[in-house]
Amino acid sequence: MIRRLPLNLAALVVVVISVFPVYWMALTAFTPTKDIQAETPTFWPAHPTLEHFATAVNADGFWTFWRNSLAVTAAAVLLALAVALLAAFAVARMRWRGRRGFILMVFIAQMAPWEALLVSMFIIARDTGMLDKLSMLTLIYFMTTLPFTIVTLRGFLASIPPELEEAALMDGCGRAAAFRRVVLPLLAPGLMSTSLFGFITAWNEFAFANALIIKNQDDRTLPVWLSSFSNVFGTDWGATMAASTLFMLPVLLIFLILQRRVTSGLIAGAVKG
């Protein structure tokens, strides 16, 4: 027991460092302004209040932006999953000329400097009539998450023995049915963890949302709104932290929903190794 003490202490330090910033955000969001501005900070919500959340939610258009973000993100992630699944299948289960080159390109695509493409993307969006449209953002987010999704799904697919599918084929299933009934369930953890990644990436994106939504201000997304929130509310750290908390909430929820699957995938992988 004594021997474990330093180890447990170290673990405690890791936990505190990991959690504190997030805790501090939530705490500030629930702390009355008077206490936030006190000389000595309080580390416990002595008089919790919802005033900051009210300020944040009542700010102009909050729900619209929240909904825009959610719609764009969800659509981009699902699109990426669908497209990536096809490509990953081709890469993991078939032999064809150009396969190596394709994989290499997918790897390189992961390095794409997205912010550097702002100007050319702006020009392309303008020239194809896609400026000021949420659908353009959806497409871009789909593309930013696609390479990673393909790489990861390919990894998962490769670890599912093709014999399972063949067995199902023998049982008289069509190829699609075999895939759906046998492979897809086994692939679930992979789909979960990749959608998690895609969700975070798209949910966070600021530069394109800021540059491509110009006139239709009702089509702005949450990160853009959050960035101007600090201009508007300035020293109102309570409201800013409340807005950040609301911004984090969907990601946290998705994590909680998907996490069990992700960890089970992790363990499955571990056991197999």
């Binding site: 990991s18 959690v19 910033p21 078939m94 390095m111």
Partner: protein, 321 residues
């Protein structure tokens, strides 16, 4: 930043990948191409075309006027000459390398230590650490940058309060974001804080795949903990370390949102890395041509830096075939 892959880790673990399917090419020679068609089409419109456009711009005189009216003239290598000839660019490249090395080294060392620690913890403590890491991981970048700005506020920031309470009077109302070095340090802290969870969780997943017998054997041979790590753990997990390091290099090198949100590359350029510099030149100064040249050079530098990683990837694919 993000979420990759629990699965990527898995793919790298030995013996996971079965030989690729003997999928019958005879029957459906066209199928694979149909399956990758959406990916290829999407990439052509949303990645390749913008990329080409951007490269073309880097060979043109392209400022606000050209953006609005069109009709940009080609100027050959002039933009590249201007960029490469400037003192500022060289110092930005150097800073970007320092930024990448500092961050990646810290991330890898801390993650390894944390992963080894988790493996040794009791069940309850392990769950606590894992949950804490997942919470950090789930924090969106923009939320995290706002939080860090609040933590390090000069007047009401809890960090200054803590330092003053600990007796460091000089930190009363200390303005962290006014000084280049301290802003750089805060950004490193932020990026490391956000990146460690993924690396540590993946490494921990990898650690659990190392057969316990190997450890026992090493112990019986009288190996110290350090020897166990360098001679058993590390060699087995080498591919995983390689993969995570490469991913972290890509992310840290390309890191933009955090720096832009916190410091805009300042103060006095102290946190201007290549992506930030390219953005400044293009968007703040409206020199889209120079910005594109910088971006092109950025990608080239990154590819050169990761050439060994790419080589290995391709080789591995070869083995699979």
């Amino acid at each position: 930043m993000s979420a990759p892959s629990l699965a990527a880790g898995r793919r790298e673990t030995p013996a996971t990948g079965p030989p690729p399917a003997a999928a019958p090419p005879r029957r459906t020679a066209l199928w694979p191409y149909l399956l990758i068609a959406p990916t290829v089409l999407g990439a052509a419109y949303l990645l390749l075309y913008p990329l080409l456009r951007s490269v073309v711009i880097s060979f043109q005189h392209f400022r606000t006027g050209e953006l609005i009216r069109g009709g940009a003239a080609f100027v050959g290598l002039e933009n590249y000459r201007a960029v490469l000839g400037s003192e500022e660019f060289r110092s930005v490249v150097l800073r970007t390398l320092v930024w990448t090395v500092v961050n990646v080294v810290l991330i890898m060392v801390i993650s390894t230590v944390v992963a080894l620690m988790i493996a040794r913890l009791g069940r309850r403590m392990r769950l606590a650490v894992l949950s804490a890491l997942v919470l950090t991981w789930a924090t969106p970048v923009l939320a995290a940058t706002t939080i860090f700005q609040w933590l390090f506020q000069s007047r009401l920031g809890v960090v200054n309060w803590l330092l003053v309470t600990l007796g460091l009077e000089s930190f009363r109302d200390y303005t962290w974001f006014a000084d280049g070095t301290s802003t750089f340090a805060i950004l490193v802290t932020l990026v490391v804080w956000q990146s460690v969870p993924f690396a540590a969780l993946t490494l921990y997943a990898g650690l659990t795949t190392v057969p316990a017998e190997l450890y026992e054997a090493a112990r019986i041979d009288g190996a110290t903990s350090r020897q166990v790590f360098t001679e058993v753990t590390f060699p087995i997990l080498r591919p995983l370390f390689g993969l995570i390091t490469s991913l972290e290099v890509i992310w840290v090198f390309k890191c933009f949102a955090q720096i832009w949100a916190v410091s805009r590359g300042g103060p006095d350029g102290a946190t201007t890395t290549l992506p930030v510099y390219a953005f400044q030149v293009a968007q703040s100064l409206h020199k889209y041509d120079l910005g594109s040249a910088i971006s092109t050079l950025t990608v080239l530098i990154l590819i050169v830096a990761l050439i060994t990683h790419l080589r290995r990837m391709v080789k591995q694919e070869g083995e699979h075939l």
